[in-house]
Symmetry: C2
Subunit: 337 residues, 2 copies
Amino acid sequence: MTAVPACLHRSRDAITPALRAAVDRLDRKTRHQAAYHFGWITAGGAPAAAGAGKAVRPALALLSAEAVGAEPEIALPGAVAVELVHNFSLIHDDLMDGDEERRHRRTVWKLWGASSAILTGDAMLALAQEVLLDSGLPTAAPAAGLLARTTRHLIRGQVQDLSFEQRSHVAVADCVDMAAGKTGALLSASAAIGAVLAGAPEAAVDALALYGDQVGLAFQLTDDVLGIWGDPAVTGKSVHTDLRARKKSLPVSYALNQGGTLGVELAAWLSAPGEPGEEELRRAAELIEAAGGRDWALSEAARRMALAEDALRGVDLDAGAREELLALGRFVVDREV
Amino acid sequence: MTAVPACLHRSRDAITPALRAAVDRLDRKTRHQAAYHFGWITAGGAPAAAGAGKAVRPALALLSAEAVGAEPEIALPGAVAVELVHNFSLIHDDLMDGDEERRHRRTVWKLWGASSAILTGDAMLALAQEVLLDSGLPTAAPAAGLLARTTRHLIRGQVQDLSFEQRSHVAVADCVDMAAGKTGALLSASAAIGAVLAGAPEAAVDALALYGDQVGLAFQLTDDVLGIWGDPAVTGKSVHTDLRARKKSLPVSYALNQGGTLGVELAAWLSAPGEPGEEELRRAAELIEAAGGRDWALSEAARRMALAEDALRGVDLDAGAREELLALGRFVVDREV
């Protein structure tokens, strides 16, 4: 496992007080559920220090300001806002997907019901905009506009993801588009929002946004490979997680679209009912690999990472921040595949 | 029934093209559900002209700009944004409340499921901010900040409303606070947002916001009276709607807090299980009236309306727009009680 980049610790320390102050604006009940979700308290309200995620998005936001030569502090409202939008989407997605656990703790809907999850998610989405717009920065409006458009793409990705469950055929391009919305959009906004808040030139903002988009896609491609072939000891998830759910992930959609006897067998398996057995799961993983799904996803992830790095190298950025962004991108993507 | 004020027709005509253009930004599936919800198409996608609500909030937004001497056009992004936030809350509330019909049509969740209602609502909330922030107006940031804070209060009101269902006692002040969030906050923001977008002085913005707050509370007090004693032929709802749901509305919470034998009997009835019969409903309505709940709600509504009118008369506003605002407030509140 690659060492955790220092910027993740720095960003967690920098944003936690601001994130807590933002959450304190919420009504008592919503605040309680948000604080629980972030790992600050137990369900009963006792102080806790549960895993609150890696806070990759806030780290990108802070580095994004540094990359254009500004102090990271100017990006703080953006860092808090992207973390709130990310967690709004997690709380709503957990409800829609029926996921009962996140980071080894019960999810908000599981503890407090569907209405609470809907309202706490809604409140976080509104709060993200409030934090940005109350910052008093002259660049708050374009940053908030970026966040609003990004949220639209994020939602579109989730709409596509859910619709794929109902469809027998999903084109690779549609699957990539879904991942670009569901994973790429917010990473892209995170990597650009600090530069927007710092009032950086459009070329730098665009390069940082492109970097985030491509890192997001590379991450999703790798994550999808791990969801089929990942070692549970490394991923922390059970083996064949995505296969068990018969999920039309990127390697699966690639394999399906190769047609032939492998594709036909795979399509039949994906549309079969019931919980698949271990032998079936091994066979499905073999089919996807034989049809080239694994190799394609890994080479596509590498290609996307190269595009991400090219994007950052093509514009004038602070050298130290650029290196940290590149290291953070590799940390997010390069896991034990 | 009071005649529908001309400003409602004007505002519906003015905002519909802009609202449609905003909804067109959404992904195909979300756009379809939003267009259905607004009454523009049938569930199957055929063009329709179903009742889309009175669009009171956009009318307030447009008049708010005119009241401070600006052209109503400057308020158009605000008018579209408040209508989107209102409809985001309707779609999510219908799901949480399990309401199967709205404006005599099936609700979004009833037709397309809970996940669709969550995502379409989320998309409308994000779109509201996007429309404001993309307007290019130099006042977009304060207007968007107002809308974000307002959304927080709106959600707080819904959180309180749901929590009242679980509680046997609700203080009148808590009930008023809930109505101020659930009904007052967005009417207040609607009545102020046009002035904010026009860059009006704080005194005018505050007076308009106060007017909206008080009209909202007066409306809710009247609506709660109609929910108990309203004539179904006038309200379009069944008689005793709120009583049937044993809802702790404003007149009910007032009556409960009077204590005495009436209050005790009412409290026992509210916490009783099962669907109440007609005789029981008549008795509950009598108890609330005898404890003063009806008179209090009506006099409180009148007091709030007077405060609303005083607020508008206390600042320098365009006389014609002020009269239209006053007429619109009366139209919203003065129904056949």
